[in-house]
């Protein structure tokens, strides 16, 4: 079959363009009929005389060789997909950077599309909620104390020889030192009442107050035996200064100097 020179050049340029498109746009390289295009080049070759024509032939051949290379890569990637195992994922996650991983996700992400809207009913609900809101300047009422409960006033604390001042910090440190020493002697922990009970009711209340601070701020761990109800104190210098706050425990005191907790 004889092809006119102009048509032959057009044909070979089309092959070069096709190979470039496959590489640049990432089309499936198997879309190119490599064997068919090589046959075309073979048939056209005897007609080429000028160096420019031979250069075009060489370029087309190089393009087809690149397509074969892309086909190889494509098959490798596909076969890896089929045998995608956890180890391969771990390796790829280790190899890729955060932006590369995010880029991989964006290529596969088809986000949900939704429209938020407001109905008359929701607007009515919102208006009713707004009307019921208390002004920010009006602070909520403190909860009423239950029967038998009393709030320790500043005056009451002073009468116990306590105040939230620098002295108080010193008293806390002193109490903690005593507690550590006694616990160490007792093998790590001591019964709560053995430590808190003092010569007078006033001193017992003051000591209980200081221990409650130490327990709240992580200096000491207060535990209760579930069977006997016995309370124990264990110094925890490793958590000192870290407020616990998981639970609270009310320990009643009576005037006999012994609690029932």
């Amino acid at each position: 079959m004889r092809v006119k020179p102009g048509q032959a050049e057009e044909r070979i340029l089309r092959i070069i363009h096709l190979c470039r498109e496959v590489e640049a746009k990432g089309f499936n390289p198997f879309e190119v009929d490599v064997a068919g295009e090589l046959e075309v080049l073979r048939r056209l070759l005897p007609g080429w005389v000028k160096p420019s024509e031979l250069t075009l032939d060489g370029e087309a051949l190089r393009g087809l060789a690149r397509v074969v290379e892309l086909q190889d890569e494509w098959v490798r990637a596909r076969s890896r997909l089929r045998i995608l195992d956890p180890e391969t994922v771990r390796e790829r996650v280790a190899e890729l950077t955060i932006p590369q991983l995010a880029e991989a996700f964006l290529k596969a992400w088809r986000p949900t599309v939704k429209i938020d809207f407001l109905t008359g009913e929701r607007l009515r609900e919102a208006a009713s909620y707004w009307v019921r809101l208390k002004p920010k300047s009006r602070l909520p009422e403190p909860p009423a104390l239950k029967e038998g409960e009393a709030e320790a006033s500043g005056e009451a604390l002073k009468s116990l020889g306590l105040s939230l001042s620098e002295d108080f910090r010193g008293m806390l440190e002193e109490t903690f030192r005593q507690l550590k020493a006694e616990a160490e002697r007792a093998g790590g922990e001591i019964p709560y009442w053995n430590f808190v009970r003092a010569g007078s009711f006033r001193e017992t209340v003051a000591r209980a107050y200081l221990v409650s601070f130490l327990a709240t701020y992580g200096y000491v761990h207060l535990s209760q035996d579930r069977l006997t109800g016995e309370l124990k104190l264990k110094p925890t210098p490793e958590t000192a200064g870290k407020p616990r706050g998981e639970y609270s425990l009310a320990i009643p005191l009576d005037r006999e100097g012994e609690g029932h907790g």
Partner: protein
């Protein structure tokens, strides 16, 4: 003529049901569509999908993993129908979506790992995988967030599976392919386009 008008009316209604968020989770269940659109609601859904294609969107159906053997009608009744993008999100839009880049990276790694493990893996395994890339204090927070948003599901034995939202929004095959084939120049190109 009357039939055409009826289809047009039901098409509009289907679009409203699927796009307007009524519940905390997006989309509607098949039984809700059947109740509003009639017995042949799937025909309307397919018509709507055709219309949405022109806008680069699609109707996505996520079937429920109940473990029961159900006929197609019952499966569709329980399935969640929602509208998603038809193709990938442009990089510029992704930046505006409010997601942190390390969250996207963590979700890519987690879902690819789950895919490689036939859809499920223990939470501790996934935590170890992510801790190789992110500070460990972030890992747990991120996994809880993905679970809350529906991208992951965690059972009482702390086993993670692909959540309903990932099934709807993430093309797992495309994810694993891009994870395996992505290279540095490609990332640079992506940034350039953004």
């Amino acid at each position: 003529m009357a039939e055409e008008a009826s289809y047009a009316r039901r098409l509009k209604r289907a679009a409203q049901l699927l796009l307007l968020q009524r519940h905390r989770t997006p989309g509607v269940k098949g039984w809700e569509l059947r109740r509003s659109l009639g017995k042949n609601y799937m025909k309307i859904v397919r018509m709507l999908d055709g219309e949405l294609e022109k806008l680069g969107l699609q109707v996505k159906i996520v079937y429920e993993d109940s473990g029961e053997t159900l006929d197609e009608e019952a499966r569709l009744d329980r399935a969640r129908f929602l509208v998603t993008f038809r193709g990938p999100l442009p990089a510029a839009d992704a930046q505006a979506s409010g997601w942190r880049i390390d969250d996207l990276a963590a979700l890519a790694a987690t879902l690819a790992y789950l895919a490689s493990k036939q859809g499920k893996a223990s939470r501790s395994e996934v935590e170890r995988l992510l801790a190789s890339k992110l500070p460990s204090w972030r890992v747990s927070i991120i996994l809880d967030k993905f679970t809350r948003l529906g991208y992951l599901h965690e059972d009482e034995n702390e086993v993670l599976t692909v959540g309903w939202r990932a099934k709807a929004e993430v093309d797992l095959e495309a994810l694993t392919e891009s994870l395996l084939t992505i290279s540095e120049p490609e990332v640079e190109k992506g940034r350039g386009e953004a």
